[in-house]
Amino acid sequence: MNTLIDKGTTESMSLFDVHAIRQHFPILQQTVHGHPLVYLDNAATSQKPLSVIESEVNFYKNSNANVHRGLHLLSDQATQAYEGAREKVRQFINAPSMREIVFVRGSTEAINLVASSFGQLNIQEGDEILISALEHHANIVPWQLLCAQKKAHLRVIPVLDNGELDLAAYNDLINIRTKLIAITHVSNAIGTINPVEKMIEIAHQQGVPVLIDGAQAVPHLKVDVQSLQCDFYVFSAHKMYGPTGVGVLYAKEALLKAMPPYQGGGEMISQVTFERSTYNELPYKFEAGTPNIAGAIGLGAAIDYLNQLDLMQVAAYEQQLLDYATQALSEIDGLRIIGEAAEKVPVISFILDTIHPHDIGTILDHQGIAIRAGHHCAMPLMERFGVAATARASLAFYNTFAEVDSLVLGIREVQRMFA
């Protein structure tokens, strides 16, 4: 272990008090298979601080009622809490208006909403939709479905060997037939941060709208949709310390106004007769049915939690964790990191000798270490790097240098078992 920096020294170098932070996350205090839990599967879903858990419990215990329809006190409280969460989301991503914040089930539903509604209106036969080789299946399959339906074509920005997008190819791929660009802000599989601001600027010079999949970005980066100038931005609450089952579609108001509804039902209408219905104003036009009220409130609580942290410090600490983990893992013989972009979030995908990632995952689990092993819902990207699967350690600001050391020891144990 003398190759690793003394962890006491490293942690005291940081102003960030990770041990205090860990106290906010009850789940982290447990043991797994007799070892302290080392949770390194944050890109799959992050853990939740007590304040988020309590916000949902509190809603169900004290304020549960449906929103926007009751005349009674509880309904009014529920509506205020739900709309209060929408305002928190607006501020969180600096959207101009609450009318541009649509609550959905998650990033996947948000992308499907845009593919279905915007796609219905704007995509014709022969048009092209441009995505990237870094996409998660959620930002591939909805566009494939749309293209099949409309006889349009899906084009793909290639990825370079280091895991960055090929921006020269991107420039060449945009043409008169390109009607939408849908790219991820951050790669879930290999951690690359894409230069989306620059990519959006290039797209807009050609008049092409851009959707950004921010699911992996919001837990790590400050997002400002006005400075990005993106047309759509989507993310899920559960990857940013909030609950599962709720997420956000941000879209510019003019786009949402023109787009037809995605689903029909209660909440999204203004008037209904059997001949025709008129639709509710934004954003309710896109929120058919009783929404995930407690989930939205939980998302609001997650935003409150993040707001009371010093996000500059968090980002600096996560960068230190990434650098430390990258260095420590690189020193293991037979380990190859997939994805070495200059700008990354603390997500490290790797392969080890000829040992299958699933075997790595099982053996690490028995040492209390939770990682993801598999294709990360990004099969085309795995194929690009010539692997069927990788092991992926994805870190959050509540992880420690000591946990990275545990991972390294765990991987050495895997190698011993297969020796």
Binding site: P357, D359, H366, H375, A388, F418
Partner: protein, 147 residues
């Protein structure tokens, strides 16, 4: 022996790393692809059946140690077995993976995979080759998936 060591005992690591009967069979009577979409394990099985017995059995594929070892051990164990016997062995193997009470008298060396039962997430890895064989013998045309 710890559950983990029992799962990854030497026989399994050896068969995982150097699978027996790995290769393509020129003129199979039955042939089938199997796929575990969860982890990306893939294999293709080639079977030559003569007089209701398995005369030859080979596979190609890649995947985790458990899936490769299980396929390797299966091909070794089933050679020259009657089809009716194969179905009984599969039954016993499946019970070994999923049930507390099981008979093992037909399993022979396959019993080294007993440790998999302690790892529910890995049972699919160990049974992929078997489900693929089952489908091959049933001559079901669609590729088989563990999902």
């Amino acid at each position: 022996m710890s559950a983990l060591r029992e799962l990854y005992q030497q026989v399994i690591i050896d068969h995982g790393r150097h699978p027996r009967n790995h290769g393509v069979l020129a003129n199979p009577t039955h042939q089938k692809q199997g796929h575990n979409p969860l982890c990306g394990d893939k294999l293709e099985l080639f079977v030559c059946v003569e007089n209701d017995s398995i005369k030859e059995l080979k596979f190609v594929g890649n995947g985790c140690a458990i899936s490769m070892a299980s396929a390797s051990l299966m091909t070794e164990h089933l050679k020259d077995k009657k089809i009716s016997e194969v179905l009984q062995i599969f039954q016993q193997f499946h019970e070994l993976m999923t049930e507390d009470a099981h008979d093992v008298e037909l399993l022979g060396k396959l019993s080294v995979l007993a440790g998999v039962a302690e790892f529910p997430a890995r049972v699919k890895c160990a049974t992929l080759a078997w489900h693929t064989l089952n489908a091959a013998l049933a001559e079901d045309a669609a590729p088989v998936s563990t999902e």
